[in-house]
Symmetry: C2
Subunit: 159 residues, 2 copies
Amino acid sequence: MKVEYLNPFILATKNVLATMAQTTVEPQKPHLKENKDTFGEVTGIIGMASETVEGSMVISFSESCILHIVAKMLMEPVKPTIDHDVIDAVGELTNIICGGAKATLAKMGLNFNLATPTMVHGKGAEVHYPHSAPIVVIPFKTASGDFVLEASLADRHRR
Amino acid sequence: MKVEYLNPFILATKNVLATMAQTTVEPQKPHLKENKDTFGEVTGIIGMASETVEGSMVISFSESCILHIVAKMLMEPVKPTIDHDVIDAVGELTNIICGGAKATLAKMGLNFNLATPTMVHGKGAEVHYPHSAPIVVIPFKTASGDFVLEASLADRHRR
């Protein structure tokens, strides 16, 4: 995954959380994923595909982090646990963040379509990738906890 | 999701498991997903996307089922637990089964590209979908345990 493909994901994450959830996020230094991580409590996964590129974007939240974000999105008190509204919100955030990155990447000449997102809920669920896919991990901090965005995006047949 | 889109997924699953893992599978009656299910121990997720359609395919295996399938794929004894080889094999099966369905669907005039698969490992991890996506569930039986394929595939903007 080229370094210049990273910034659109970081910018989209900052913008979407600022506008949809009045949440300031601090992106940390990106790094290549070297071995499996234990993920957050709830995770959104979305595929990116065209005839020339393929990839996937994963965004995984700690419980405290997503409960505070969703409270702001829905303008409701912070829920005690992750429920269907929270899981739906993760799907929406996944779609909109990846859609924002897609729009910027299209201006850079990289065109693809988004698949339907899926959401995974469960403590200790690990998300894995094919060996051939180099994954970039971007950790984010918020005042209410951390989340991580992982992206893999590459030309087909050039892995 | 149209009924005629189902058969290509069923056929690809049967063919891929027969040829790659000498495993006979018995598809059960498909049904619409009505509420969350607890999923298998290891799950492959892959996105499908073009300018006109979007979707995702999920295939989730019980531990016994996937350990026996992978033993036949690798021509090795049955492993005691799910390890990285097994998770990689789930990614490969996900890709090849969805690729087989894609080839048949293309002949029916439905064209899309595949995203990079991701694999989820963990007992009790639940996979959820956006509310707007109707999901078809196809249970499969094998001599060594069950697995389930779930697919959502629809024209964009016509959900």
